[in-house]
Every structure is written in C-alpha cells, then in structure tokens.
C-alpha cells in the first residue's frame, strides 16, 4: 500500500511542482490572459462611459448582463451541488472530481459576481446594497430580490472558497513537504497553515468538511431560486410563474454537471490523470449528465403545458418565445441541452474524450441560449405593445462576456498548474481501503 500511496502523491503533486509545464499550457494561458485584458477594458469603458455603451433599453433593462450572470451562477451551483453530493455519499468518484468541481464552482461565482456589480451603473457604490448606517439614513429595501441576490452571491462565494481551501490544506502540506525549491516550500507552507497530519486534526477536519458540504445543498437551491425569483416576482407575463425556480434549479444542475464532465475529460487527457479519473468515473458522470438533460427536457414540456393552461396574455408571451423573433434561441437551447446529450445513451460516447468535450460544451451553450430566450424572448411581448421591440448585445457587452470566459479559463489554468487537482489524501485513503479489503 505504501508504494501505491507514494505513486498517487508523486503523480498528482509533481504536476503542481514541476518546473516546466509544456507549451500548450502557456498558449492557453496567454489566450485567456488576452481575454482578461479585454475584460479589464470593457469594465473600465462601462465605468467611464456608463451602461449606455450596452444595447440595453426599456424593456430590456438587463440584457446580456443578466443572461451571463444567470449562466455563470448555474455553473457555480451545479458544480457545488455535485461536489457536495460526492462528499456526502463518500462516493469513490469524489476523490477524482470533487476538488476541481469545487474549483469550478468558486471561479464561476467570481465571474458571476462581476455582472450585477457593473450593471449598477456606478459600480464603485455597490456597497449601498449592504445595510450600513448611511448618511442618507435610508436602509436597503429587503423586500427586493436584488438584495436577496446580494446575500446569495456573497454567501456562495465565501462558503465555496472556504470549503475549497479547507479541503486543500492537507494537500498543501504534502506539496510543502515535497517542494524542491525554498520559495515553493515557503509559499505552500504558509498556505498549509502548519498542517501536521495529526489524527485528531483529521477527525475534526473531516467532520467540519462534511458538515459544510451539507450546508451547501440548501444554499444552492435557495440561491438558484433567488435568481429565478428576480423574474418570477415581476409582472412580465412570461416570467410571472411559480415554476421558474424549478426550471432554473434543474437546468442549472444540468449545466454545472456538463461543465464538470468537460473539465474531467480535459484533465484526463491533458494531464494524463487517467488512473485517478478512470473510465468508470467518466461513465458515471456521463450518465448523470444524461439524466439531468432528461429532467431539463421534462421541464421544457412542463413550460408548454403551463402555457396551455395559462390566460391569454401569458400564453401568447410563452408561444412568442417559441415561435417569434427569438424562436431560434429557444430551439437551439432544446437541440444543444436536450437533444445532443442523448448521445450519452451510447457507452462508446460516454467513454470517448471527444464526445465528452462535445456534449459538455453543447449543454453549456444550450443553457446559455435558454437564459437568453427567457431574459430577452420573454420580455418581448409585455402588456404594453408600445414597448415591443428587439434587443441585440453591443460589442462592449460581448467583450465583457468573453472576458469572463477568459478569466474563468485563466483561473482554472493556474489552479491546474499550482494546486493538486485531485484530492491526494482521499485517493490515498481509498487505495488503503481497497488494499485492506
């Protein structure tokens, strides 16, 4: 067993500690770094010129901003939910993917958080949503879903980052002990907080870790519902539906799982971690993605059924989304997030790297179209015909979205480069249990 534990540690730790990382990583980092620069440029231009540089106007007051916010939150919540369930079920798969599922969740929250802040128009005053004793002596309006959102995003960011970091501490200690250079030893050592592997510490660590994983479950259901409430509590005919939270939770889960599948397949291929993320793991992930795509499909049917039962104006609004100016988005979301994942019924597709990448991206794109369809298509036929018009994102909005994609990719690349992507101590533990059974 000792020799195998050694193998786990060196394969995973040496990835993080190696001096050279290959040109593919560098090119990917340069490309995503360029997008991060674009993000900086678009953020500054919005700050200086105002939200007028965006294509938003009544009735489309949110536009791209909320589409991309809801999309990133979906990824964050889906990935968090997946990581939490793996921890709680003590499933063998968790050793392979829960560390980077948590990483994906954390980075996605960072990307999501950018949008509501910039869209305030004067982003430097974002702290006004926080209840502090202001000179105006007016408190925030807590009945507004936007203040719920403030609590939800900040809570998700704090809890996910803490959970991710606390789970990393023992592995950071391993990196500290294996680092070859003094600087690396110092840096990993400081972040490992002096972890020494005491059995008492392990017992507390595991208990706390599992407990916070339990807390994440209700958190993300509430959070995704909060995003949905932003639509449901308005009087817009297509949005004012009690089914919205369910739709957002279920499609968000499909989206989060598909991104985890995509990252798992890429890591398996790029870092040759096939032994630790084995075929069975990827197969199981594929089945989960397929199941969640089927649930999304059910909810699309539910949407049509609800519309058929609704009064005339909400019914027309929903059917306008399916057949009107933005019908393309609706049908694309069905093709990408429901039809294409049906490929995963085939065992060969579940085990193929190309199919994993293809389906992972496809669902991500599909849910993005779904959010676009709800947020733009849903607003098109409001009660007042005088505001019926169309919306298209401008270049600064597109740049902002591409920029967050770059930021996400850059954070993920740095994570893969400097931290253990697979939980080393859990893999050791599992191998030990296998060896002794």
């Amino acid at each position: 067993m000792s020799g195998r534990a050694q193998a786990v540690t060196s394969t995973v730790a040496d990835v993080a500690l190696s001096r050279r990382f290959g040109w593919v990583w560098w090119i990917a980092l340069l490309a995503s770094g360029a997008l991060v620069l674009l993000l900086g440029y678009t953020l500054i231009s919005v700050a200086i010129l105002g939200v007028g540089v965006w294509g938003v106007n009544i009735p489309f007051v949110w536009g791209f901003d909320l589409i991309n916010y809801a999309w990133w939150i979906g990824i964050a919540n889906g990935a968090s939910l997946f990581a939490a369930i793996l921890v709680l079920r003590r499933h063998g798969l968790r050793t392979a993917v829960n560390r980077f599922a948590e990483g994906v969740a954390f980075f996605a929250v960072i990307c999501a958080g950018i949008f509501p802040i910039v869209h305030l128009g004067r982003p430097w005053l974002f702290y006004w949503v926080f209840p502090y004793p202001a000179t105006f002596q007016v408190w925030p309006q807590f009945r507004s879903t936007l203040t719920w959102d403030f609590w939800a995003i900040s809570t998700h960011a704090i809890v996910t980052s803490l959970l991710w970091y606390v789970g990393l501490i023992p592995d950071l200690a391993t990196l500290r002990d294996r680092a070859r250079t003094r600087a690396a030893k110092r840096v990993y050592g400081v972040f490992a907080l002096g972890w020494r592997g005491s059995v008492r510490h392990w017992a507390y660590h595991q208990r706390a870790y599992r407990l916070v994983a339990i807390l994440v479950l209700p958190l993300i259901l509430i959070m995704q519902s909060t995003v949905a409430f932003e639509f449901a509590v308005t009087l817009v005919p297509d949005w004012h539906e009690t089914r919205q939270p369910l739709h957002f939770v279920a499609t968000g889960l499909a989206q989060g799982l598909s991104i985890v599948l995509l990252v798992a397949v890429l890591l398996r291929w790029g870092l040759r971690l096939g032994r630790y993320i084995d075929e069975e793991d990827v197969d199981l992930l594929g089945r989960l993605v397929l199941a969640s795509a089927l649930v999304s499909g059910y909810l699309y049917l539910d949407e049509i059924a609800s519309a058929l039962l609704a009064e005339r104006i909400p019914q027309e609004a929903t059917f306008n989304r399916i057949t009107g100016d933005y019908a393309g988005l609706y049908w694309m979301s069905i093709v990408y997030s429901i039809v294409i994942p049906q490929l995963l019924w085939l065992k060969a597709a579940r085990q193929s790297t190309v199919a994993g990448i293809f389906v992972g991206i496809s669902i991500g794109v599909g849910i993005w179209f779904d959010r676009f369809s709800i947020i733009i298509g849903g607003l098109q036929t409001d009660y007042l015909p005088s505001i019926w018009r169309t919306y298209a994102p401008t270049l600064p909005e597109t740049g902002l979205f591409l920029g967050t994609l770059g930021l996400f990719a850059a954070l993920l690349l740095l994570f893969v480069r400097f931290l253990p992507v697979v939980s080393m101590f859990e893999t050791r533990h599992d191998e030990h249990e296998e060896a002794s059974s």
């Binding site: 009945r143 203040t147 704090i158 023992p170 592997g197 008492r200 510490h201 208990r207």
Partner: protein, 179 residues
C-alpha cells in the same frame, strides 16, 4: 542542564502497525500522545477518544445567531427605523424576509464551522516541534507516526524509547523541544 524533549516519535509503515502501537501505548498507561497519518484514520481517532460533536453545535448555534440577526435587522430597518410602505403590504412582510434569513444562516453556520475548525486545531501554527524530526515530511505522504509527549506522567526518556522500539517501528527518534 539539557532541556526535556518534546517527546519520542516512532515511524511506522502501515496504519495497522500504528493502530496496534497506539493500543499498546494505552495499555501501558500512556495518556499524552499523538498520532500522525497522511489520511484520516477514523478507527484510530476513536481509539484516541477524539470527540468531534462540538462541530455540529458550532454550526447550529452560529446558524441560529445569523438567522436571528438577519431577520431582526430586516425587520428593524424596514418596519421600525425607516418604515417603507410598498403597495400597501404589511411592514413586517415576513415571507419577503425569509430568503435572506436562510442564506445568512447558512453563511454564519458555514463560516463559523470552518473558521472554528482552525481555532480548535490551533492552526495556523507554522512551527511545531514535530517538524524538526528527520523524515517527518513523509507524514503527509506515506508514513505513520506515533509521538509520546514529554509531559506524559509516565514519560521517561530511555524507557519510553524502549517501549516504542518494542512496537516494531521502522525507526524511533527523539523530538527535541523548540526554543
């Protein structure tokens, strides 16, 4: 006069050998010792009498405080200090205060658990006597250690060393006190 050592440490190759050594240390009457392992060993933690029930209590109490503060703050700010009538709804419109209350309860419970964990473990503590032991860096990799502390009532340098050597370890080393 030389300073009393922090303890004596034995290195083992397998968790089972460590567990056996801990059991015989308990039989021999030692009470102050600690075990180190590269991954969690629940059986051994039980043997050492570690009770972690304080963790869920921290989460529960912190969650209640967070929920109480958040609901109270919302009620006081929107119904008492600056009452704002929106569409004729009651000032204490409690259903609208529930989502943020639940979320903040989770924030308090989660943050208190993880930060409380570090306080209970007395981390961060970058320096510790065990780190001075040659070969201890493998405690984060593939080796298992038992350290009998110098402040154990039964601790006597040579005797304790002899006891550990009888547990068929790979090696026994003294852990010097620091400072």
């Amino acid at each position: 006069m030389t300073q009393a050592p922090y303890g004596v440490m034995a290195e083992f190759k397998t968790p089972d050998a460590l567990l056996a050594a801990v059991r015989s240390a308990k039989r021999a009457g030692y009470t102050r010792f600690d075990a180190y392992s590269p991954f969690p060993l629940p059986d051994l933690a039980e043997e050492l009498g570690v009770r972690t029930t304080v963790i869920p209590w921290i989460a529960f109490v912190a969650g209640l405080i967070g929920a109480g503060l958040q609901y109270g703050a919302q009620y006081w700010m929107n119904a008492v200090d600056y009452p704002l009538n929106v569409g004729g709804r009651p000032l204490d419109s409690w259903p609208a205060f529930i989502p943020a209350t639940l979320i903040v309860a989770i924030l308090w419970a989660g943050a208190a658990t993880l930060i409380g964990l570090l306080l209970i473990l007395r981390l961060p503590r970058l320096h510790h006597p065990v780190f001075a032991v040659h070969g201890f860096e493998r405690a984060s990799n593939d080796r298992f250690f038992l350290c009998i502390l110098g402040d154990d009532p039964l601790f006597e340098d040579n005797e304790t060393r002899g006891f550990l050597e009888a547990q068929s370890p790979m090696i026994v080393r003294e852990v010097p006190a620091c400072g």
